[in-house]
């Protein structure tokens, strides 16, 4: 990395299963684009216009590049970047892969804690913890934790928030 980070990195990584989930997401995306490009190859005849042949190859190249990016590069990079932590006073996360976002929310200002599980997440036994505050912008999301970890964290944060809440707005 060329420059030091503006703030410190949280210490804990996500579940390793998150990589598998991101790869699965990439596979679904690649499949969709592949079907579109495949349909173009099969259904649009070559003599329909001069632009068809270049478009075919451009489409194929796009699918290939997309597959490499979303299957091989992005999941690993994301896993390396994503970090989270619950400190004595706050919940702290780092997300993103190109643009990085650090979010810090004090437990005393937490209003609600949600645990959500998407379809893919259920397949991989993962869950997302979302911590909401009075601000529409101040929401912390810790994606793809192991289900028991997520439940434990949500429980812990909610209980501590109840004890230390001041004004919460």
């Amino acid at each position: 990395m060329s420059a030091p980070t503006p703030v410190r990195e949280p210490v804990w990584s996500l579940s390793r299963k998150a990589i598998a989930l991101w790869v699965a997401q990439g596979a679904v995306g690649t499949l969709c684009y592949g079907l579109v490009v495949g349909a173009f190859w099969l259904l649009v005849p070559l003599d329909a216009g001069a632009a068809v042949a270049p478009a075919r190859w451009a489409g194929a190249a796009f699918v290939l590049a997309y597959a490499v990016l979303t299957l091989a590069v992005r999941p690993r990079l994301r896993f390396r970047v994503h970090r989270w932590e619950v400190t004595g006073e706050a919940i702290y996360t780092l997300t993103g892969w190109l643009t990085r976002t650090w979010t810090l929310v004090p437990i005393s200002r937490v209003q609600t804690v949600d645990v959500t599980r998407g379809l893919l997440q259920q397949l991989f036994g993962l869950a997302t913890v979302a911590v909401l505050t009075a601000s529409s912008q101040g929401t912390v999301r810790v994606p793809h934790l192991d289900l028991d970890v997520a439940r434990h964290v949500a429980d812990h944060v909610a209980r501590r928030a109840e004890k230390t809440r001041d004004e919460a707005t």
Binding site: R100, T103, S108, T133, Q137, T169
Partner: protein
């Protein structure tokens, strides 16, 4: 104390609703369509019958609605029951009431009535559903309701705080709108839009009217000679003058005799020429203030000051402390409510490079494309446009950089950004409910980061754009509680 009973609104509201065709409005488009379809070949008697019919229908409708509507301001909650066939009951507990607004639209004023809006917004995401409107009570009853609801709320608040002595309500006028400030309005975007919206509405109305009733300007004044440059100039000049007049007029209607009063723990704002509004803000819920200056306003030193209040619906309008006025007055008010954190710190030179780069980039792309086109096809206008845009980008980027700044003080902090509308926000330390630090790839290489303070008021978040990355941890720690030290390594 007598047990509160459910009451009806004043029967005079029937007249208001009949006059404004509130219920019959839905009939009008149908009637217009019928007229358009059949033509008005009938005698004037038909027209009279139609008007009378619609009026009677409207009165009947209003009467039914009035008869089925009742409200109850009890010890614990306000309940509004209404609905002709399907009944709806809306209950707002007293401790959830965030504000009470008494407004008197012109027709209501004619009959000595007011409309009471009770605001119970739960968060910053406000919607119409979160308020309860009692439409058409006598002015005295409206004031009584407001006083009763707000005093209850104050009791709840003092009980919660464990205090027993309620403070004496002393009234202090903070400031009063001066009519000469109306002259600023042609320089403010939102007021310039008002006459344009009026013109738009007029055109929509013309669209509804069948074609043969629309006069053709060509027939009336003959076709004008467009080759005459002076005529075009006069028309454009006249339109500009009209636009400016419209802006002043619109601003006068909204801001007429604006007054800000501090009474007890509340700020009370009164405003409006036709519709008179009374808005209550609890000082305790104010988390910060924003002073915004548009491009035109900066030329004449005008500004607008807004309070950032937690849990206030429609906060942009209701939170206004100074709708339009000299910058000094805006700052005086702001300093009174939130202590100033001192002068702003400039952002590093890398931030200036980034602003310049972003401002010049669109022009630069055009310039390159134009150069390619000139070389290949000999078509040069794009090249010129690109060069002009690139040149304009330089002052724009510098101005955008000059707007950036942040400051921290003992109890508050400030951030400033924006060029078209420059917004200087001063927030209390306790306002921060979270921090969000963002860094794009470009920012990472330039050693910059954008820090957003998440706040449960106003827009929900205010950013210090392109701050020097090593300063971020210190800034967040100084601008909020000890919990923010988790960001420092």
């Amino acid at each position: 104390m007598t047990r509160p009973t459910a009451r009806r609104t004043s029967p005079r509201v029937l007249l208001v609703h009949t006059l404004t065709f509130r219920q019959a409005r839905s009939v009008v488009p149908v009637a217009l369509a019928v007229i358009a379809g059949r033509g008005l070949q009938g005698s004037p008697a038909t027209v009279v019958a139609l008007v009378v019919g619609v009026t009677v229908l409207s009165l009947l409708w209003a009467a039914l609605a009035w008869w089925r509507t009742s409200y109850l301001a009890g010890d614990t909650a306000v309940v509004l029951t209404r609905g002709l066939v399907s009944r709806s009951v809306r209950t707002v507990p007293n401790d959830r009431i965030r504000g009470v607004e008494v407004e008197a639209p012109p027709v209501h004023r004619l009959f000595g009535l007011v409309r009471v809006r009770i605001d119970a917004a739960a968060g910053t995401v406000a919607s119409e559903d979160e308020e309860l409107v009692i439409d058409g009570v006598l002015r005295a009853e409206g004031d009584r309701l407001r006083a009763q609801l707000l005093s209850r709320r104050a009791v709840v608040a003092t009980e919660a705080a464990g205090r027993h002595s309620a403070p004496e309500p002393v009234e202090e006028e903070l400031h009063r709108f001066r009519n000469r400030w109306l002259l600023y309005s042609p320089l403010v975007g939102s007021y310039l839009v008002l006459p344009l919206a009026g013109v738009g509405a007029l055109f929509r109305l013309l669209d509804e009217v069948p074609d043969r009733y629309v006069p053709r300007p060509g027939q009336l004044i003959g076709s004008p000679d467009l080759s005459d440059g002076w005529l075009v100039l006069a028309v454009v000049g006249g339109a500009l003058v009209l636009l400016a007049l419209g802006a002043v007029l619109g601003s006068a209607v909204v801001n007429w005799r604006f007054r800000l009063v501090l009474r007890g723990g509340s700020l009370i704002a009164e405003r409006g020429l036709l519709t008179r509004r009374h808005t209550d803000l609890e000082v305790d819920r104010i988390r910060g203030c924003a002073v915004s200056e548009g491009l035109g306003m900066r030329l004449v030193g005008a500004a607008r000051a807004t309070a950032l209040v937690t849990g206030l619906g429609d906060a942009a309008r209701r939170g206004q402390l100074l709708p339009l006025g000299p910058r000094e007055d805006g700052w005086q008010l702001t300093d009174l409510l939130v202590p100033s954190p001192g002068t702003l710190q400039r952002h590093p030179a890398a931030a200036r490079r980034r602003r310049l780069g972003r401002a010049v980039a669109p022009g630069g792309v055009l310039l390159v494309a134009g150069a390619v086109l000139t070389a290949t096809a000999g078509w040069w206008p794009l090249l010129v446009a690109g060069a002009v845009l690139t040149a304009l980008g330089v002052p724009l980027g510098l101005a955008r950089y000059a707007a950036l700044g942040h400051a921290t003080g003992p109890t508050s902090f400030a951030v400033r950004s924006g060029w078209l509308v420059r917004e200087h926000v001063v927030l209390q330390r306790r306002a921060v409910v979270g921090w969000e630090v963002r860094q794009t790839v470009v920012q990472r290489r330039a050693g910059l980061a954008t820090v957003q303070a998440c706040v449960g008021a106003g827009q929900g978040g205010y950013s210090a754009v392109d701050m020097a990355a090593p300063e971020v941890a210190g800034f967040t720690r100084a601008a909020s509680g000890s919990w923010a030290s988790a960001l420092a390594g």
